[in-house]
Symmetry: C2
C-alpha cells in the first residue's frame, strides 16, 4: 500500500465518520475513532466522555497563562500530549485510519501518510445531523457553524495551522459527490493504484 496510514479530518455532519468507517472496512485495516478515545483514556487517565468532546471545547485561554510549570500543564494540554502519543503508537503498529484529533499534524513528518479532509454543503450537514444523528437543536446552522469554529480553534491552537485550509491535506472531498465515490477514491489513492 502506498499510504498505509490515513488521517481523516471532517466537518461535523459531513459524513466524514462514515467515510472513514467504509475506507477502513474496504482496506481491512483498523479504524481509530472510538477506539482511539479508549486508548487515550487508558494513557491519560481521563474519562472517555471528557476526551470525546475535546475538539469541540473552547480553549480556555484565560486560564492558560496560569500554568507555567510544565509538570502542571492544563488538562487540555495533558490530554493533547497523551493523544499525540497514542496516535504515534497506533500508526507505528501498522496500517490504519485515524479520525480527527490533529492526527495529520502529529504525523506530518511521515511521507507514507495520506491526509484527507471531508466536508459537505450546509444543507446536507443539517439534514444528516437532524435526521440521521437525531441531534435536537433550535438553529442547526448556528449550531454547526459554532462547532466548526470550536474545532478550528482547537486545531489551530495546537498545530499553528488553519483547520480546513486546502494545503494541509493531500485530498479534500465534498460528500456531495456521493459517499461511495469518495470512499472508492480514497481507497484508490491509498493503494497507489
Amino acid at each position: 500500500m502506498r499510504y498505509p496510514v490515513i488521517t481523516i479530518g471532517r466537518q461535523h455532519g459531513s459524513g466524514g465518520r462514515t467515510v472513514a468507517e467504509m475506507v477502513a472496512k474496504k482496506l481491512d485495516i483498523p479504524l481509530y475513532d472510538k477506539l482511539l478515545i479508549q486508548l487515550i483514556a487508558k494513557e491519560s487517565g481521563f474519562a472517555e466522555e471528557y476526551i470525546k468532546d475535546t475538539d469541540m471545547r473552547r480553549i480556555q485561554s484565560f486560564f492558560y497563562g496560569m500554568y507555567i510549570d510544565s509538570r502542571n500543564l492544563p488538562l487540555e494540554d495533558q490530554l493533547y500530549i497523551a493523544q499525540s502519543k497514542v496516535i504515534k503508537e497506533v500508526s507505528d503498529k501498522g496500517p490504519c485510519v485515524i479520525v480527527g484529533r490533529c492526527a495529520d499534524y502529529v504525523l506530518r513528518e511521515r511521507t507514507d501518510v495520506l491526509h484527507v479532509f471531508i466536508h459537505a454543503p450546509m444543507e446536507e450537514r443539517i439534514e444528516r445531523v437532524r435526521d440521521t444523528y437525531h441531534e435536537i437543536e433550535k438553529d442547526y446552522k448556528k449550531y454547526l457553524t459554532k462547532l466548526d469554529k470550536q474545532r478550528a480553534n482547537y486545531y489551530n491552537h495546537y498545530t499553528g495551522r488553519k483547520w480546513g485550509s486546502s494545503d494541509i491535506y493531500d485530498l479534500v472531498y465534498s460528500t456531495d459527490l456521493g459517499i461511495e465515490a469518495v470512499v472508492d477514491s480514497i481507497v484508490h489513492f491509498a493503494k497507489g493504484e
Copy 2:
C-alpha cells in the same frame, strides 16, 4: 457527463495548469486558460498582457474609494465584470475546463459544475517554477508565498470567500499524489462513473 463544466483553481507552480490541460484533453472538451484571456480581451478591450496578470496584481484599495460612479469603475472592476461575463458565456455553450479567474464563484449557482483546487508542497513548486517554467527569482519561497497572497487577495476581494479554503471546492488534490493519478480522478468524478 455528471459535471460538464470543471473549474480549476491552483497555486502557481503546483502543476494545476498541466492538470487542467490533461483533463480537457482526456474529456475532449475545450480548455479556457489562454483562450479565456483572448476572449476577455475581445470583450473588455484590455490588452492580453494586462489581463494575464490580473489575479497576481495587488488590489489598489487606495484608489478604490475614488470611484463611486458605477459608470466609471476602476479598471480592475471593469475587467472582473468582463471576465465574469465571458466565463458565463463559455460555460453556457457546453462542456469545458476553466482555469482560475474566480470561475468557481461566478458559476456557484450551477449544480453541474465541478470545482477543483490544486496545490503542491512548497519544495515541489519551487522545483517546477525554476526547472520547468525557467522563472528566475532570488528567493523562490518568498516569491511563491507573495504570489499566493496576491491571488488570495484578488479572489477574496471579489468573492467574499477565502481562496484555498477547503469548503469552496468539491475536490482538492496535492499533485504530490502524481499528476496522472490526479487527472484520472478528476475525469472519473466529472463523468460520474
